[in-house]
Symmetry: none
Subunit: 215 residues, 4 copies
DNA sequence: GATGAATGAGCCTTCATTCAT
DNA sequence: AATGAATGAAGGCTCATTCAT
């Protein structure tokens, strides 16, 4: 699959149509997954004919990849900026906040990511190494400098915690709401989850120390 | 859809065939999802003819539900026993351990659960309320008795953390391994994740207090 | 389908565009046939937009018919002149030569004719009766006057021979070259085929006599 | 495209179905060409469902190739036997007769061959080299031994004549009938065309000599 | 006159499911 | 109980054609 899947639109109108298709695709793919989605449904959601869709994207697969790519882009940028930040301590909370805000505004993104992730994540590995690189590095550095546990093996484990608690919060929201009897899509839930993450980030060194000491 | 989807096998041979089909289905469904899986592939994986499959399961949907049901059963039992336990404090660590052991032994289960969860989780809500009920209740009680935060809203949030860190650990293992540069399917990773969960359970009251106090 | 399919071009520029489209269509139709050709490919070959093509030709079918019509016109004229010729004996060789020259210069024409012919030739029957009328008549007259075989049934059979050896030579050239190990599109092949036809025309009476006598 | 396109049938019933599909495909392909044929029409003609067709042939293209392969087989065998014949002189007439009989009995075959031939004949070149090899060789030997013309270049030209007058007779029959005012599909036409070919074969040396001498 | 954008119809192919053996 | 054969119902994708600029 080509890494630049979308056939570039030549016109402002075309550009807009391609955008509408991407939006529609994000919604429908998030709802039903790649295999469960019918291109006709995407077209209908976008308000265009199926054939129009194929003017801008050579195949359903390419469209899916384009959707994912576009969804990941802002996250990559947020983390990129964080990586360039000299004072990580000060930048942590705003970064967490920015990530959560973005995910809340685009709930399809974490669901798309999780769908891919559960099925092996070949696609994500390609796109996402740029993404998680900084996060990984950050956690590693923090843990090592702060209160380093003797067991280095916890570094990725703790990195994963952040992935679970950011993406997972949104990707699993419908299920969590249903099962745990609370609205995980409410602004309050968002605020609390953000607070949880910030608190965790602050506690990380403590937790890591405890873990490293086998407590 | 019938809640008892499998047509009971009448003979030992039939019983064994049905089991082989369930195993095969779990593997393939976990790999490709419900929509992305072809009945023929399940049959091939099980080493039987497609028509044979329809002797035991009336449809692909029913088979899928049966797979999920069977995968969830042991987890429900583990949590059920925990719920009946008088000394939660003492039972926590062994319960976490049992859950993790089971998930590690049946990695298809968490992936199937996550697939369903991302797509709204209608099916899970039906099956899983039995499952998460005890967990929810437990956390609530612990938090309230222990070091109760003033903000009750964190109870489900903290419940979700356990879901993320148990199921998510296995469901996202392939992606996490790839991205965070560590083998999340190794015995060491299992040990560390279990330890993390146990530590967190112990720290819950502390964390909850901090959160509740807005720190 | 209208018998004058092309919308007359009003300007010199339009005339030229229409011509380019006809040329392109001849090439592509000859290569892939009517059904196998995409309008877009013709447009691309002609260097115009697809919509432009529809300014000059109301449909793919009409364009195809126009191409065939234009390709047949010169052949009809050559044979028309031959029909008007008083001294057939003297005119035969130059006529054969003219036909072969034209076909060699426009190799798409015989291929288009053959494509149509193999599929029943409805279209050709309409266009082509003008064409083969003279040929048929000529052969008949020659045979009857010259060395008439007793069996009149051979007249059309021998007429067909000329069709096979003129059109077929060009229409099947690629295959013949490949299979018989010679370049049927070379000037030498053209010369020899022309010579063969001339020789055959001269021998016709002899052959016809032999055939008529059942030898 | 695989050279053995048909998925082998496991059963007598399957074998028969595959045969019916091949027959139907031959008919419809001959009528409309590869691109112009709809698989549904083949299925209908064969009296089966479209999906059934795909059990035995992986694609329309493969089916087409299989049809051609099967149609060519008997011709290859006839010519193969001729090639092994010591007394070519005596075997010529029976061979011509056998070829013509076969083509008359299976009129789809020459039409399929011609369709392919007009479009370049890539496929035929692969399948057919076996076919025309003997013919080519025979003519060459005859011409060289009999009354050899000084110009060797006529050998393939004369080989082509036989191709035109055997396959072409059947492939173009509908058009010829219409244009030349005779029934080219009647038994009489078959008899006369066979006689023409036999006569030509006998005259070949004479014609060749004349041609070689530039007359 | 020319073109990029858009579409309705239809084609090839697949797939869940049933039937006959 | 088990299977090869068969099918109806889509699904992805293409294509001839039209429209708005």
């Amino acid at each position: 699959m080509a890494s630049v899947p979308a056939v570039e639109a030549r016109t402002a109108r075309g550009e807009e149509t391609a955008g509408r298709i991407l939006d529609a695709a994000a919604t429908v793919f998030a709802r039903r997954g790649l295999a469960g989605t019918r291109v006709r449904d995407i077209a209908t959601e976008a308000g265009v004919n199926v054939a129009t869709l194929y003017i801008y994207f050579p195949s359903k697969q390419h469209l899916h990849e384009a959707v994912l790519e576009r969804g990941l882009q802002p996250l990559i940028e947020i983390l990129g900026r964080f990586a360039d930040e000299p004072d990580k301590q000060a930048a942590t909370a705003p970064t967490i906040d920015a990530v959560m805000q973005h995910l809340a505004a685009h709930p399809a993104v974490p669901r798309l990511i999780y769908q891919e992730a559960v099925c092996g994540g070949e696609l994500l590995a390609r796109i996402g190494s740029r993404w998680f690189g900084p996060l990984d590095e950050l956690i590693g550095r923090e843990l090592r400098t702060g209160a380093m546990p003797s067991d280095e093996g916890f570094v990725p484990i703790l990195g994963a915690v952040f992935l679970h608690l950011t993406l997972g919060h949104f990707a699993l929201a419908p299920l969590l709401s249903r099962i745990l009897g609370a609205d995980f899509e409410s602004p309050e839930a968002l605020r609390r989850q953000t607070q949880l993450l910030t608190t965790l980030a602050r506690q990380l060194s403590v937790t890591a120390r405890d873990l490293g000491n086998g407590r």
